[in-house]
Symmetry: C2
Subunit: 228 residues, 2 copies
Amino acid sequence: MGRTNDYYGANPRFYVGIDCIIFGFLKGELSLLLLKRDFEPAQGQWSLMGGFVQENESVDNAAKRVLAELTGLNNVYMEQVGTFGNVHRDPGGRVISVAYYALIDIDEYNRESVRQHNAYWMNINEVPPLIFDHAEMVGKARTLMRQKAAAEPIGFNLLPKFFTLSQLQNLYEVIYGEPLDKRNFRKRIAEMNCIEKTGMIDKTGSKRGAALYQFNEKAYKESQKFKL
Amino acid sequence: MGRTNDYYGANPRFYVGIDCIIFGFLKGELSLLLLKRDFEPAQGQWSLMGGFVQENESVDNAAKRVLAELTGLNNVYMEQVGTFGNVHRDPGGRVISVAYYALIDIDEYNRESVRQHNAYWMNINEVPPLIFDHAEMVGKARTLMRQKAAAEPIGFNLLPKFFTLSQLQNLYEVIYGEPLDKRNFRKRIAEMNCIEKTGMIDKTGSKRGAALYQFNEKAYKESQKFKL
DNA sequence: TCAAAAGTGTTAAGTTTACACCCATGA
DNA sequence: TCATGGGTGTAAACTTAACACTTTTGA
């Protein structure tokens, strides 16, 4: 089923871009997947992964497509950051761009695809200068992600399926940008009823071994029902 | 200075709409300014005030223009709510729409302009069915506004320049949707150093009369400096 | 004189933070 | 045997919530 009417012909139309702020948790640091552009415009400079909305897709689906194009991943946690629409934000033409952030499991993405796009993981505290208004997008994405992580358990999207509590704490420390108290952290985790011990032990991180946990989405949703 | 290049010619272009969720504080209730549409598409139905982004303006400025077109107001507090881009969200044609909410002082808007647009204030708890995805926009706007109001003093934008503490409390009660304790509320206000007594007395709301206060933006910004 | 809104502090409950030691194991 | 990360509870500090009466004045 195509377009049925067009009441709006007197108005101008615009390219609508997508820009992805792709978060990963790499070597104990929060990182972004950034492109060293080997194409125009702004060849040779750093940017976010981007693309354009197409006729037959929603803006949200365009964002998923653009993310999948770089990472090979589907079913990724994504949130809209906002729309950036200054007239001259992109010297290559008038583009209104919708930014999304994505949280991906660093173990899962397609390394070959990333290599082909000339993309690299950069520590979030050492991000190079970015083209256009991409630094502003990153800043806003980081703020939103932090707020969301404080309110809902979204951090798991950055971890492998099974993780230790130390890994989880380390992750939240880099998200908040400050150290957390181990006992207080574990107390809070225990109070949530969505993080369950698997019985498995991870021996790679310590001699003693640490219990592996997993996020139980169903239990989380159950527990939310009682919050009015 | 116009467009310099166009690297993006292979991509489709879209109408980019603006929709405004206009909050007002009317008769002690949080209200929305809604259009009873006397034009197509969806004539006869209720909708948000809308418009289209034009070539020579940023998306944010388009939102300001659309708001001013209905209310006659400039320099209004506005926040972007998000971008709504489902393929068939608008049966009148493919439109990607950016929603903004605005907080306006109910004493200040242009009544004649509102009348000409066939717009009416509706209690936020008695909003009629709205066209397209406008109800979703309203829901998201209300959530965002509540969150913002909890973090920053934005409520003043809904009040006249001078207001009593009872009016302010009433406002926050309708924003949060729950009653607040008078003494705790006033204690919190006193702790902020941005709400100052003017010396004037309002006698319209009570026999005894209530002190009129005003928001001091400068004092607010000063106090923010010390929050890291 | 009384109805109606304005104004004013204290205490209990709950939440958050600070803090230190033993355990298990591989090297 | 010892260095390394894993695992555990309690008390103080702080924040939030609950609560009731006096004041002023126009009708």
